[in-house]
Amino acid sequence: MAARKLQIALYWGAACGGCDVAVLDTNEFILDVAAAADIRFWPIAVDGKYHDLEAMADSELDLALFNGAIRNSENEHVAKLLRQKSKLLVAFGSCAHMGGIPGLANLVTKDEILATAYLSNASIEPGNQTIPQARTAVDGMPLEIPSFYRRVYRLCDVVDVDYFVPGCPPAPDQVKAVLLAVVKGELPPLGSVVGASERALCDDCQRTKSEKMVRHFHRPFEILQDPSRCLLEQGILCMGSATRSGCGVRCPNSNQGCRGCYGPLPGVADHGASFLSALASIVDSKDPKEIDQILAGLPDFISFAYRFGLPASTLQRSYR
């Protein structure tokens, strides 16, 4: 008897679409997936409506990959539906895993975001006073749109998540490995981060590393870098030492510092804080004024250190 085809779904919450593209980036492999699996729900590639999902029996799906953060009620609603309808739910990519880039919105309040988007933005009609509301009347008919939350959540903040696949986006090889693992039923313990190393990126980075003493921080374009030497030692911010490996060292190999999309190492409670603590330790000065000057060379540090994980951090959100 032929093996029952795998029933899978993919969905996006607050996301840029890159994770969906990463799945397509597996190229012809996706055709093998299509052959081995029924893609039951995947807005970017196959037609489908909410009611199709709602109509499924509980646990009818074998696997649901959810990318994107939880920004509004629609994201949460579909996340809960997928949880209910699927045996396995995977937080796929940095946004679902840790909140991702949309999570940086937690640095400001909901009101500030709406004001910037609809009231004081150069690209809107001058004098606009309209901010979309969850419920409104258009021509006397009620119109409902998803409600915008006060903060951004990770997927695991709203539903139980079985596995986490980090990356912005996850590397195509890791995507393949994850899908194959499900097909073969070779699954790690529930709650694991899969498709990533248990060591930091430095372990795989081929740049030479020596003792670190930094006197100046530079943005990548400001200096001529030595392509064979550790970026951080050259004063270019690189989160590699604080970030799981598994991406294939994509950024440092492109002469950019690691941006931390694979998240913190196991057992590390706060990604940005762990990097900040390390960074503070290698500033090569004992003079408080000079230290201040050196640290002033770090532009918008919070957005750097928590670029992908503010909702997963101890900072949570702005309470102003």
């Binding site: 060591r199 430095c202 372990d203 490996s245 196991p266 409670a269 762990s274 390390a278 503070a280």
Partner: protein
């Protein structure tokens, strides 16, 4: 998490704790906590019956963890770990809650202090659940010692060790032994000859086959840890050639001494400009050659000695250089015996005569008719050239504070009592042997009162004036103290290493090297082959700097794990 049987012992410390903390209420509050098997209080937990109570409690109640709410762990942690060991429990399975220094001693509101004591005790209980049994380690002790500096302190230390039949490498930067003492004539207060003091030591050092004397030499590198150092010494030969050799030593004695304050920095004393203004060391040279004379060869009739040049002054050094007062008195004696008709003025700020025999020396100096004039340290005497009609070379104006008068005195010669200062190369030495300096550049001791010759780096000792200004008896005593400390360790043969140290978890280290340069004790080494960092337990002081810095969470602070600290914080907050 597995169930524990925790015994809680609350100390009254007589009334020290009990006066401001309701000790029984603390006991009651923890009685119902999960895993607490017993909670009892006692008047003096550190006394023999108190310790016995803990040891017996462990056995009778099959305790697996012990919490003692008492004083600071700095006071009695060792005591209570000992009690646990006697009761058959690994000593690291014990935790102290400090309800004395952090509670009863600093609060006066009994109710609030009791609440805080409860919170600290509950925190200790939560923490101790996560404790792990630890064992101390041992390492070999190499019996050779490196002594840096061939002054009186270095010579004495080297002899003390070599006389006990151990090898010593004595490294001296210059071409001769004796240090600053070799520049001195007689020594106060007994007026013994410095030459005599030194000659005996130097001869014995040169004759002792156990002492490898390395003149014109400097330490270039020191790696390893107590008992197992490897020291690279460079010897400069004639014509600029030099050779380096590496020796194994177990301990290092730093006896690098001091340098004299540059009198030219106090510009208006005119040193270097007025020909007959000399420093104490320049005057010593005159004494040693036996010719006390002015630049033009006359016997000086009026000599003024000015104290505290560079010392006890905010502008230069705030500290007292300790030996100059007695040295100045010595000059009075030597001047009077060379020329009984000479007038000596001793212009001082305060007369410090605290050493053995020094007060008597001060009295006898007053009897030889030295004129003592006191000045305020912020109002220095003014030296100016005398007019041709005056009967002297220079005139000194002093605001004499005892009489309140402005006094002018004649002088043919002025002796500036220059203070001691940390050597200009002391920063380099501190870096090489990994010890700290205070704000004046002096090397810092492990404890200024209780551990004065040890440093915070095990196996590195500081003796003599490299640690602070001091006289010959104190320098010699320190040299012998350091030698005794080292001989004790050599006799033991092995060194015991506390079970609390940082540990790199190899399977989590990515080899980023963030921690390598950070360790203040140079305890972290990097293996270039495996590309992993490693902490040398014997060199680690468990300060936690690397634990906090490791961005991968790969370094574990034994006995200070994240779980233990988080549990403790929760205990205080909940």
């Amino acid at each position: 998490m597995e169930r524990q049987r925790i015994g809680v012992f609350v100390c009254s410390c007589g009334t020290n704790i009990a006066h401001h903390v309701d000790v029984d209420a603390v006991c009651e509050s923890v009685q119902g906590m999960p895993d607490v098997a017993i909670a009892s209080s006692y008047r003096y937990m550190c006394s023999n019956p108190g310790q016995e109570m803990i040891a017996r409690g462990i056995q009778e109640h099959q305790l697996t963890r012990v919490v003692i709410a008492a004083c600071s762990p700095r006071m009695h942690e060792k005591t209570f770990r000992g009690a646990c060991k006697r009761g058959g429990l690994n000593p690291y399975l014990c935790e102290m809650a400090n309800i004395r220094e952090q509670c009863s001693w600093v609060h006066s509101d009994r109710l609030a202090a009791t609440e805080k004591a409860k919170a600290l005790t509950s925190a200790a209980i939560r923490r101790v659940r996560h404790h792990e049994p630890l064992e101390s380690l041992t390492a070999e002790m190499c019996p050779n010692t490196l002594v840096i500096g061939g002054g009186i302190a270095g010579l004495t230390a080297a002899l003390e060790l070599a006389d006990a039949a151990h090898d010593v490498f004595l490294v001296e930067k210059t071409e001769r032994l004796g240090g600053n003492l070799a520049r001195v004539d007689l020594t106060a207060p007994h007026l013994d000859s410095a030459r005599d003091l030194l000659t005996e030591r130097i001869t014995r050092v040169r004759d002792n086959p156990r002492i490898k004397l390395l003149l014109n030499s400097e330490l270039r590198n020191l790696v390893g840890y107590v008992g197992n150092f490897s020291a690279t010494v460079r010897t400069n030969g004639a014509s600029g050639a030099h050779e380096e050799k590496t020796v194994d030593v177990g301990n290092v004695i730093v006896a690098t001494g001091y340098q004299e304050f540059d009198a030219g920095r106090v510009t208006h004393y005119g040193h270097g400009k007025l020909p007959n203004v000399v420093t104490s060391f320049e005057f010593e040279r005159m004494l040693r050659t036996g010719r006390i004379e002015t630049r033009d060869g006359r016997l000086p009739q009026y000599v003024a000695i000015i104290h505290c040049v560079g010392s006890r002054n905010k502008e230069f050094h705030a500290y007292c250089s300790r030996v100059c007062c007695m040295t100045a008195l010595k000059y009075s004696h030597e001047l009077k015996s060379a020329n009984p008709s000479c007038y000596v003025s001793d212009i001082y700020v305060d007369m410090h005569a605290f050493g053995k025999g020094c007060e008597d020396f001060y009295k006898t100096t007053s009897e030889v008719k030295t004129l003592f004039l006191m000045f305020d340290k912020n109002e220095r005497p003014v030296i100016r050239k005398a007019a041709p009609s005056d009967d002297c070379d220079m005139l000194i104006e002093v605001n004499e504070t005892l009489s309140g008068e402005r006094i002018e005195i004649p002088a043919d010669m002025v002796i500036l009592m220059v203070g001691m200062e940390a050597r200009s190369d002391s920063g380099e030495v501190a870096r090489l042997v990994n010890i700290s300096q205070d704000r004046d550049g002096w090397f810092m001791e492990s404890h200024p009162k209780l551990d004065p010759v040890a440093t915070t780096t095990d196996g590195i000792y500081i003796v003599g004036t490299c640690a602070a200004p001091k006289d010959i008896p104190d320098s010699v005593a320190q040299a012998r103290a350091a030698a005794a400390r080292i001989l004790g360790k050599i006799a033991k043969g092995k060194i015991e290493i506390d079970g609390v140290f940082a540990e790199v978890q190899d399977e989590r280290c990515s080899g980023c090297r963030m921690c390598n340069e950070l360790c203040p004790y140079s305890a972290i080494e990097f293996n270039l082959d495996t590309r992993r960092s490693h902490v040398i337990p014997a060199a680690c002081k468990a300060c936690g700097a690397c634990v906090a810095a490791c961005p991968s969470g790969a370094i574990k602070g034994r006995h200070f794990t994240v779980e233990q600290l988080h549990a403790q914080i929760e205990g205080v907050l909940l």
